[in-house]
Amino acid sequence: MFNPLDLIPRIPLGDWIDWFIRWLLFHIGDFTRALAAILRSAIDAFNDGLMAVPPILLILIFSLIAWRMSNRSVALFSFVGLALIYNTQLWGASMETLAMVLLAASLSIIIGIPVGILSARKELVHRIVWPVLDLMQTMPAFVYLIPVVFFFRLGVVPAVMATVIFAMPPVIRLTGLGIQQVPKELVEASEAFGSTEWQKLVKVQMPLALPTIMAGVNQCIMLSLSMVVIAAMIGAGGLGGAVWRAIQRLDIGGGFESGLAVVVVAIVLDRITQRVRKSNSNG
């Protein structure tokens, strides 16, 4: 049957994007290489730091933080869970994953919070940033892996880059939302007393938005963890690497062990950061 849409030749959208990425690669190659080197050494520093501490000490430290931030049962769970990870010989892989999560989440927060603040204060920034966030969040996570490999080759650096892109949106969104939700009368009061823009931000808007911002940070850390695991496909290693190897060998038991380790790390990170959010909303 005749379909008028067939008259339009296929638009080579994919080719264009290919071309654009190659063009970028050619022109900003030096920049990406420098960035890669910096990221590389940052990850190594995080990783070496975590591995330098004796596992039992680190397990105790995590349990103590969990106790302080949450309660005794979470502390107990952290201790048993992390000990189990050590026992199944996944300690090294877990620390690699943790190092990547910490770096990616820190970068997301360092970039995301200022962007969120700007988007809440400037309508123009909001109108540019929000559609980009929609794109970043709805695009399947795997799609990021392809261009970052182009720029940063295989390994942990592209994994961290993809993770930052994937995990940053909630930080920006919730920072923006938190600041916009500060009651208008309070902002007005702050202005009426002659606050500068900076005083208004630091003394009124940020403190009141903090619980919402911390919700974004918590989400960011959880998304980082999930992306770092997926990024094993581009050679990120860590726990994701262990899962990936198990899949290729159809090793059901090994796959579950690594999967469980991911769950333990996820729960410990979530409980610790969730608590920060609650204690702030109370105080």
């Binding site: 009651p183 009368e185 309070l186 007005e188 009061a189 702050s190 202005e191 009426a192 007393f193 002659g194 606050s195 500068t196 005083q199 003394k203 009124v204 403190p207 009141l208 105080g283």
Partner: protein
């Protein structure tokens, strides 16, 4: 010379005020301008002068433009046209920096919903204005402390706003404004969110404070009683225009037009002549757990012969007389429960004076005013009704 001078002030809300201004100058009405251009006229060509030390009340119904007007005075809302002077300085021509200094040093604002910062304690809230001026820390605390003492909140410094009642929160709002020692106090429906009795207390206190401080006060309200009570002069606003500016007596006796006359008449009948209008705060109440001796002492302290008894939720239980309490004390009873009488006259806040008069004729003790939940709102002593009625006759 005038402290505040407002000349032909106009505020149009919308993206294309020019069109609306042209139409407005041709005498087109507010509604028609909104229909034709989509621009809303907030205030229209308002001019007045306020003297130093004057309490100037702007009174109008919601939508009359009074909140917009007060926000134009410190440019929280940017006027579309017209000039505002404070002393010799033109506020409307200030740049950002000058405006900030003006807001810091010359004026302070009190808000309808208090607008206290929930993450700061009472002292930190009060010191906010000084803090953003980077005042020396010791001086800052001392001045904030003084302002809190002035409004009777000494001892609450380390509490947080959510721990305070509405009346106390607004005292903090007032202290925060007074702490910077402004020449001009802008009060935007500052007492409107408070219970009637607390509101009256705050009005009295503001009048007291004003006697000591002699600030220039611009006070916005929708309550005519309030306007007449605290204003040296009252400006009545309607649809963004000032209809009449006069001292309270003239507003009452010599309304400029039918709108004002109607206003004055309505409010008089509806508000002043009800139980709510003449009730006073009970000097003292007793609780069922109080012993008869405590009740006796409370009565003696206040020079009264009976005491209303309320439970923890301020719900009225009844009353005790001094006579019964004395007998119970002799018998060695530990609680009031046995001698509470429940036949006290009770009325709702909207009972009219005529009805009240009948009730009070047969009552030997004050009349209790209670709400639907039986909470004790206030009491009415017989003299209050008589004096209210005699005022009405005049």
């Amino acid at each position: 010379m005038a402290k505040i001078t407002v000349e032909n002030l106009t505020k149009i809300f919308g993206n294309h005020p020019e069109k609306a201004l042209t139409l407005m100058d041709q005498g087109v009405s507010k509604d028609e301008i909104l229909m034709k251009t989509g621009q809303a006229v907030g205030i229209k060509d308002v001019s007045f002068e306020i003297e130093e030390g004057e309490t100037f009340v702007v009174m109008g119904l919601s939508g009359s433009g009074k909140s917009t007007l007060i926000r134009c005075l410190n440019r929280l809302i940017e006027p579309t046209r017209g000039k505002i002077f404070v002393g010799d300085n033109e506020v409307t021509s200030m740049n950002d920096n000058e405006l900030r200094l003006f807001r810091r040093n010359k004026q302070a604002m009190v808000f309808q919903q208090f607008a206290l910062f929930p993450h700061r304690n009472i002292l930190e809230n009060t010191a906010y204005g000084l803090e953003i001026q980077n005042a020396d820390s010791a001086e800052k605390n001392e001045r904030a402390q003084k302002a809190l003492e002035l409004v009777g909140l000494k001892g609450w410094e380390t509490r947080y706003p959510e721990e305070l009642s509405g009346g106390m929160q607004q005292r903090v709002g007032l202290a925060r404004a007074l702490a910077v020692d402004p020449e001009i106090l802008l009060m935007d429906e500052a007492f409107s969110a408070l219970d009637p009795l607390i509101r009256r207390e705050m009005q009295d206190e503001l009048l007291d404070l004003q006697q000591k401080m002699n600030k220039t006060i611009v006070f916005i309200t929708h309550d005519l009683d309030e306007a007449l009570k605290i204003g040296d002069r009252v400006a009545l606003m309607k649809d963004g225009e000032v209809v009449q500016i006069d001292p309270p007596e003239l507003i009452l006796t010599n309304p400029a037009d039918e709108y004002v006359a109607k206003f004055v008449e309505d409010v008089d009948l509806a508000k002043v002549l009800t139980a709510e209008g003449v009730m006073i705060h009970p000097k003292e109440v007793a609780f069922p757990k109080d012993g008869p001796r405590i009740a006796l002492r409370k009565m003696k302290d206040k020079g009264i012969s009976s005491l209303f008894v309320v439970n923890r939720n301020r719900q009225l239980q009844g009353y005790v007389t001094a006579e019964d309490a004395a007998k119970a004390a002799e018998r060695g009873e530990k609680e009031l429960t046995g001698i509470i009488q429940t036949d006290s006259p009770r009325v709702s806040p909207d009972t009219t004076l005529n009805e009240l008069f009948e009730v009070s004729a047969s009552a030997s003790i004050p009349i209790a005013v209670i709400d639907e939940e039986k909470k004790l709102l206030g009491i009415i002593i017989r003299g209050a009704i008589l004096s209210a009625l005699s005022k009405e006759a005049v």
